[in-house]
């Protein structure tokens, strides 16, 4: 398979930013509720993530190879992406006395870090960037779907939705490991 296509497909599946790289899992817990609303909501979050990562990609191209500097840049671009979401009326309010934006930070910052450190040429990085965002959207929708399924199923009361969701996500991870394109 062509190298670029491999990188692109792997960043959606076998290196999915949520199900394999763990980032954004809390965000999905708090925001991926209700399948029908998740289609649009997921798009909003994905668009903001894309803006964030693209900004970080451009800036990283001008910076010297210094991890601390890169981390700060990605943190800033992550904050910018989150504030784009904030302007779209998402992540408003607080959670456990913390600003709700905190739930998105690991994804918005961490995904940029992971992409930056992949073994891909600078200009070809657009492919894993797009793949990461598509993979995030898929994870968002799949999680919302599974969550709704668990909610409406007739399970005994001692089986709680949230831990079951984590186990269901582990099965998604299991499935995606098989999609490791060479």
């Amino acid at each position: 398979m062509n190298d670029i296509l491999t990188v692109f497909l792997n960043s959606i599946f076998a290196e999915n930013i949520v199900f394999i790289s763990f980032l954004g899992i809390l965000l999905l817990y708090k925001e991926a509720r209700g399948l029908r609303t998740s289609f649009k909501k997921g798009l909003k979050f994905s668009a903001a993530l894309l803006i964030s990562i693209l900004l970080g990609w451009v800036l990283a191209g001008w910076l010297p190879e210094n991890d601390f500097l890169l981390l700060w840049v990605f943190w800033l671009t992550g904050i910018i992406g989150i504030f784009v979401l904030y302007s779209w009326n998402e992540l408003r309010g607080s959670w456990l006395n913390l600003p709700r934006i905190i739930i998105a930070l690991p994804l918005f910052t961490g995904s940029q870090w992971i992409i930056q450190h992949q073994n891909v040429e600078y200009f070809e990085r657009i492919y894993p960037i797009l793949g990461t965002v598509i993979g995030f959207y898929l994870a968002f929708v799949l999680t919302a779907g599974v969550r709704e399924q668990i909610k409406i199923s007739e399970i005994p009361g001692y089986l709680k939705e949230k831990p079951l969701l984590l186990i269901a996500i582990s099965f998604f991870a299991l499935a995606l490991i098989g999609f490791n394109f060479l």
Binding site: F19, I20, S21, F22, L23, I25, L26, Y29, K30, D67, F68, L71, W72, W75, I79, W95, L96, N97, L98, P99, I102, I103, L105, P106, T109, G110, W113, I114, G157, Y158, L159, K160, K162, P163, L164, L165, L166, I167, I169, S170, A173, L174, I177
Partner: protein, 184 residues
């Protein structure tokens, strides 16, 4: 805090280190100790910042606090393998991102140190328990020492185990609580 949701309030804010930092007991201990150190630093920083900033602390304070928290977790990520080389093989990038996880910041605004420490110790215990179970099932070891000849389910070492084991433990604890409530 309501007892019913207590477990959720411990697990959800610390979900990232719980799933990503529990491949082995050693890794879990590193993450747990780093969490405790960061919690103390963040709490002190919050006090300092809220005295410096003239207005009612708002988003600005949190953003500054988060950036400092991230810097400190990055520092731990870089320095720890230098001063303690044996920790190098157990550290992953998620140690760096600890400074972005809510579990470090919950209760920072409260003057009650006791509650804050109790909370993070409970989380630390949970993360170490997860690491123990994961290392045993995924590698047949505990703290690097072979307990059984081979792993029970090797795939538990990876992302599958990262989600499955915390999920199963969470479910188990919820079932125990539910059983106790029913008994009452």
């Amino acid at each position: 805090m309501n007892d019913k949701n207590m477990l959720e309030k411990i697990i959800l804010p610390g979900l990232l280190p719980l799933v990503a930092g529990t491949t082995s007991v050693a890794q879990a201990i590193i993450f747990a100790l780093s969490c405790i150190v960061l919690v103390v630093i963040v709490k002190i920083l919050y006090r300092v910042l809220s005295n410096i900033l003239p207005q009612e602390p708002g988003e600005i304070l949190w953003i500054i606090l988060l950036s400092l928290g991230l810097s400190f977790s990055f520092a731990i990520y870089i320095i720890l393998p230098e001063i303690l080389p044996f920790t190098g093989e157990h550290i992953n990038i998620y140690l760096m991102f600890l400074g972005l996880t809510p579990v470090i910041y919950i209760g920072s605004e409260s003057k009650n140190w006791g509650f804050r420490l109790a909370y993070i110790l409970a989380f630390a215990a949970l993360i170490v328990l997860t690491g123990t179970v994961r290392e045993f099932i995924g590698q047949g070891k505990i703290m690097g020492l072979s307990i059984i000849d081979s792993a029970v389910i090797p795939i538990i070492k990876g992302p599958v185990g990262g989600f499955m084991i915390p999920g199963l433990l969470w479910l188990l604890i919820e079932m125990v609580f539910a059983g106790e409530e029913a008994g009452q």
